[in-house]
C-alpha cells in the first residue's frame, strides 16, 4: 500500500470508494469540466461568469425546464438501454442507429399501415421497439456465431441506419404536402403521443423511461435472468464453465437494449416531430450522448435518471450558448467532451483515499 504525504494531506490507495465518495467524485468531475469550459469561454472572448449565469438562469425557468425534460426522455431511454448491454459485457455503440430504426418503425405504422385507429399508437410503440431490437440483434448474432467485434459492427450500423432514414425521407416516403423538403407527411393525430400542455414533454414516454430504469435495476439485482446476463458478460469461456447459455443471454440483453432505445426513437417522431425527417434532425446524437450517460451513472440503472437530466441540461445549455452567445456548435461539443474526460480522470482518483487530520474522504 503506497502512502504519500503532502502538507499534512495523506493520500493512500483504497479498495473501493463508498457511495458518498462516488457521488462526490461525480460532482467534482462536473465542476472540473465547468472550469475547463470557462477557459474556453474566456478564449472566445466571452465572460465565463456571464455565460454560466445565462445558461443557469435560462435553464431553470418553466420553459427551460420543459425543454430539458423533453431532451431527457430519449437520453434516459437510451441510457437505460445501454446499461443493459454494457452490464452483459456488450459494447453497444449502436444506440444511434437503433433509435433511428425505432423511428422508422413508428413512421411505417403511422403513415403506411392500415389499422384500426385506436390501435395505431400502441402498435407504433410496439413496432418501433421491435425495429430497434431487431437492428440490435444483427450485430449480436454476428458476435455470438462468428466472433465479429460488436464495437465495430454496432458503430457501422449507425451509418447504415442513418442512410436508410435519409433514403426514405428523400425518396419513397417523401411527403406530398411538404414542398420538396426531406420530410414525410405529418402523422395523423391518432398516433401523436399526448403532451403536457404548453410543452413538448410527451409524458407517457417519460413515465415509461423512469419505469424502465427501475425495472432494469430489479432485473440485475434480483432476477435469475439478470444474474445470468451479468455472468455471461464476463465471456464465453466462463459461461461455458458454468453451463450458462451464453448466446441466448447476450441476445436477450441486446433485444432489451435495442427495444428501449427504439422506443426513444418512437418518442421523438410521435411526440416531438410528428413526422420522420432526415436522420440528424431526428436524433442530435442521443445515442452517443447516452454512452456518456451510462458511464456517468456507473452502470447503475437508477443513476441513469440524474445522469440523463445532467446531459439534457448540457444539451439545452448548448442551444443557449449557440443562440444567445453566438458561439459555434462545436464549442458546446467540446464542453461535453470535457465532462467525459473529467469523469475518466476522476474515476482514477477514486482509487485513493485522502486524509487531512481527522477528515477522510
Amino acid at each position: 500500500m503506497k502512502v504519500k504525504m503532502i502538507h499534512g494531506l495523506k493520500i493512500e490507495r483504497r479498495e473501493e470508494p463508498g457511495l458518498p465518495a462516488r457521488i462526490l467524485l461525480k460532482v467534482l468531475a462536473v465542476i472540473l469540466s465547468f472550469l475547463f469550459s470557462a477557459i474556453l469561454f474566456a478564449i472566445s472572448g466571452i465572460d465565463p461568469w456571464y455565460a454560466y449565469t445565462l445558461i443557469f438562469v435560462r435553464s431553470f425557468t418553466y420553459s427551460g425546464l420543459a425543454e430539458i425534460t423533453t431532451k431527457l426522455i430519449p437520453i434516459l431511454l437510451c441510457t437505460v438501454g445501454l446499461i443493459v448491454a454494457f452490464k452483459a459485457g456488450i459494447w453497444n455503440i449502436g444506440a444511434e442507429g437503433q433509435l433511428l430504426l425505432g423511428a422508422v418503425g413508428a413512421t411505417w405504422i403511422a403513415l403506411f399501415v392500415d389499422v384500426y385507429d385506436p390501435l395505431r399508437l400502441p402498435l407504433a410503440l410496439l413496432v418501433g421497439m421491435i425495429f430497434g431490437a431487431s437492428w440490435a440483434l444483427i450485430p449480436i448474432i454476428l458476435k455470438v456465431r462468428l466472433n465479429v467485434n460488436e464495437i465495430v459492427s454496432t458503430l457501422m450500423m449507425n451509418y447504415v441506419a442513418s442512410g436508410i432514414v435519409d433514403y426514405l425521407v428523400y425518396g419513397p416516403w417523401k411527403g406530398a404536402r411538404e414542398w420538396g423538403f426531406p420530410y414525410t407527411d405529418k402523422f395523423p393525430d391518432t398516433v401523436w403521443l399526448p403532451l403536457i400542455p404548453g410543452t413538448r414533454i410527451h409524458w407517457p414516454t417519460l413515465i415509461f423511461g423512469v419505469f424502465s430504469s427501475i425495472m432494469v435495476y430489479m432485473l440485475f439485482s434480483k432476477t435469475v435472468l439478470g444474474f445470468e446476463m451479468k455472468v455471461c458478460g464476463q465471456g464465453r469461456k466462463i459461461a461455458d464453465y458454468l453451463g450458462m447459455p451464453y448466446g441466448s443471454r447476450l441476445m436477450i440483453a441486446m433485444v432489451i437494449s435495442g427495444g428501449l432505445v427504439g422506443l426513444a426513437g418512437v418518442g421523438e417522431v410521435c411526440g416531438v416531430h410528428r413526422r420522420l425527417r432526415y436522420a440528424s434532425s431526428i436524433s442530435s446524437g442521443y445515442g452517443y450522448t447516452a454512452i456518456i450517460g451510462a458511464w456517468l451513472s456507473g452502470l447503475n440503472p437508477l443513476g441513469s435518471i440524474p445522469s440523463a437530466f445532467l446531459l439534457a441540461f448540457l444539451l439545452t445549455g448548448r442551444d443557449i450558448i449557440q443562440v444567445s452567445l453566438g458561439l459555434p456548435f462545436a464549442t458546446s461539443n467540446i464542453f461535453n467532451g470535457c465532462i467525459l474526460l473529467s469523469m475518466l480522470v476522476v474515476e482514477a482518483l477514486g482509487r485513493y483515499r485522502v486524509r487531512w487530520g481527522r477528515w477522510t474522504i
Binding site: K222, V224, F227, K237, M244
Partner: protein
C-alpha cells in the same frame, strides 16, 4: 567466514491492521541456498516483495553487500543483481517465448543479446521451444521462462517464490540441479516454500516464519522434518491421511478412445480410455503439458472432441451445460474462470447455486446469503464481508472459495485439477480429507502434478504422457518410483 550478500534488519510491514512482517531479521550469504519456510500468510512473500522493491517496508533496513540500500522498485532490485521468479508466471501471453525474454535485453550487451539468453538456458539445462506462443504453454513451461529471466537478472541474488508447486518430480529435479549450479557459482538463492521435504533437500540454511514473525533461523543439520513442522504451524500434525475402503458404485464417467486437439490444432489427447465409478478417486498423474488440460477441458465440455466419446451417467456429453448438470469442476485457471474477481464473494458462490435459491425467476438473496455464510465458515474463507470483491482476497482464500462452491454442490462427478495448489498444510489436509469423504457419494477425477497427492488420495492411478495413458494401476500396487519414471517418459507400461 561466509560473505554476507543481503542483510534485512528489523523489517516491519503493516497492511491496514494486519502486521505482515513484524521486525524480521534475515541474512543471505554468498553461495548458499536459504530456505524461507512458512505457511500461507506467514509473511514470506511480503518479505521477499520488500527485497524485490515491490513493497516499501514501514520500518527496518536493508543492506546489500554491506551497503545500506533503498529499494523503491524492482528496477532498483535488478540493478543490485537481485532476480525473482514469481510463483505465478507474469508473462505476455500473446507473445512468443523469445519475445517475452527480450525484456531482459536492456540489461545486456547488445551484441550478445538473445544468443546470450539462449546460452544461459542451455547452460542451466532449461529446454524450451522459443518460438512457441506463451498462451499455448503449460504452467511448467511458463515457469521455465520466468526461471530464465530470474537467472539472467539475479546475477547475485535469486528469489524463488514457491517454485515447485506446479512442477512434476522430474521438473523439480532439474530445477534443483539448476539451483545447485547457481550456488556453486557463488550466488545467494532464497527458496521460498511451504514444502518441508524440498527445503530440507536443497537448503543450506532455513528461516521459518510464522504469523509475520521469524521463529527460527537454523542450518540444515540442526533440524529434522518434525522439528520444522512444529516450528511452522506450532503443533506436530499428521500429514498422512488414512484411506479407508469405500464400496464401489456404478460408472459415472466413461471415456472411450478420446482424441482432442490443442489450440494449435495438434493432437494433445491421443486415444484415451478409462472410467470412473462412484466411490473411487481416479488420479491422473503427469507432467504439465502432456494433454491433461485438453483432456479435462473435453470432459467438462469446454473443448470439442475430435474423435471418441465421453459418457456421463451413460449419456453422451453434448454441451458444457450437460456436464454441469451432473458435475462440478475445480479448474486449473483459478482467477477468471474458477472465480470472477470483479464479482463479490456472495455472487461467486451464487454462480453455481443461484438456481437452487430461486423462485419464479427471482433469486432469494436472503437464503443465498445464509448459505454462503455457512460455506465461508466451513471452508475457512477469510473475507471482510460477503460483499467484498473476490479479487481482493488472498490466493489461499481464493482457492478455498472455489473449493467451497464446487465441493459443496453435491454432484455425481467431481473433476478436481490441482485442488490443493497454493494452500497451506492445514487447508491441504482438510481438502484431501474432504475429497476422500466425497467419494462415498460421488465419482472423483483428480488431476495433479503433485505425485504425493495422487498417491495419497487415488484408488486408481493413470499416468499420462504424450497424450496417452502409459498405464493405469491400482493404488495399492503403485510404486512411486515407477510412476515417476513413467511420467518422465523413460518407462512404458
Amino acid at each position: 567466514m561466509m560473505e554476507e550478500l543481503v542483510r534485512m534488519v528489523r523489517i516491519t510491514k503493516r497492511f491496514s491492521n494486519v502486521v505482515a512482517n513484524d521486525s524480521i531479521d534475515f541474512t543471505l550469504y554468498r553461495g548458499e541456498v536459504h530456505g524461507l519456510l512458512g505457511e500461507n500468510g506467514a509473511g514470506k512473500s511480503t518479505l521477499m516483495n520488500i527485497l524485490y522493491g515491490l513493497y516499501k517496508p514501514d520500518d527496518g533496513e536493508i543492506y546489500v553487500e554491506g551497503r545500506r540500500v533503498y529499494i523503491n522498485s524492482p528496477k532498483d532490485a535488478i540493478r543490485l543483481g537481485i532476480g525473482r521468479v514469481p510463483q505465478l508466471p507474469e508473462l505476455v501471453e500473446s507473445l512468443t517465448v523469445a519475445e517475452n525474454l527480450t525484456v531482459l535485453l536492456p540489461g545486456l550487451h547488445a551484441s550478445s543479446g538473445l544468443d546470450y539468453i539462449l546460452e544461459v538456458a542451455r547452460r542451466y539445462g532449461i529446454s524450451l521451444d522459443f518460438d512457441a506462443i506463451v498462451y499455448h504453454l503449460s504452467f511448467g513451461e511458463k515457469h521455465k521462462i520466468e526461471l530464465i529471466k530470474g537467472i539472467v537478472r539475479g546475477s547475485k541474488i535469486l528469489i524463488l517464490d514457491e517454485p515447485t508447486t506446479m512442477l512434476s518430480p522430474w521438473e523439480v529435479n532439474s530445477l534443483f540441479d539448476c539451483i545447485s549450479k547457481m550456488r556453486d557459482e557463488g550466488r545467494g538463492i532464497v527458496f521460498v516454500s511451504h514444502r518441508i521435504p524440498e527445503v530440507l533437500r536443497i537448503a543450506d540454511r532455513i528461516t521459518v516464519l510464522r504469523r509475520g514473525r521469524c521463529v527460527a533461523s537454523v542450518t540444515r543439520n540442526e533440524v529434522d522434518e518434525h522439528e520444522l513442522v512444529r516450528l511452522m504451524i506450532g503443533t506436530d500434525i499428521d500429514r498422512h491421511t488414512v484411506r479407508d475402503r469405500v464400496e464401489l458404485g456404478e460408472e459415472v464417467l466413461r471415456v472411450e478412445d478420446l482424441h482432442v486437439l490443442d489450440d494449435m490444432g495438434g493432437e494433445a489427447v491421443r486415444g484415451v480410455n478409462f472410467y470412473v465409478r462412484r466411490g473411487e478417486i481416479f488420479g491422473i498423474a503427469g507432467v504439465a503439458g502432456n494433454g491433461q488440460r485438453e483432456l479435462v477441458e473435453a470432459i467438462t465440455g469446454l473443448r470439442d472432441v475430435s474423435r471418441g466419446r465421453i459418457l456421463i451417467k451413460g449419456e453422451e456429453l453434448s454441451s458444457p451445460r450437460r456436464f454441469r448438470l451432473y458435475g462440478s469442476h475445480i479448474p486449473d485457471e483459478r482467477i477468471g474462470l474458477g472465480l470472477l474477481p470483479s464479482f463479490t464473494v456472495l455472487d461467486n458462490i451464487a454462480l453455481t447455486f443461484y438456481k437452487n435459491f430461486s423462485n419464479n425467476g427471482f433469486i432469494k438473496f436472503n437464503e443465498l446469503k445464509l448459505h454462503t455464510e455457512r460455506l465461508v465458515e466451513t471452508y475457512d474463507v477469510v473475507t471482510p464481508s460477503l460483499g467484498t470483491l473476490a479479487g481482493k482476497l488472498s490466493g489461499g482464500n481464493i482457492a478455498r472459495l472455489i473449493l467451497a462452491r464446487e465441493l459443496s454442490s453435491d454432484k455425481d462427478l467431481i473433476v478436481a485439477v490441482h485442488p490443493t495448489f497454493g494452500l497451506d498444510i492445514a487447508s491441504t489436509n482438510k481438502v484431501r480429507k474432504l475429497l476422500l469423504e466425497l467419494r462415498r457419494k460421488s465419482a472423483v477425477l483428480l488431476v495433479s502434478e503433485d505425485l504425493e497427492e495422487i498417491l495419497q488420495l487415488s484408488d486408481r492411478i493413470a499416468v499420462m504422457y504424450g497424450g496417452r495413458f502409459v498405464d493405469i494401476v491400482e493404488a495399492d500396487e503403485a510404486d512411486p518410483e515407477k510412476i515417476g519414471l513413467m511420467m518422465s517418459g523413460v518407462m512404458g507400461s
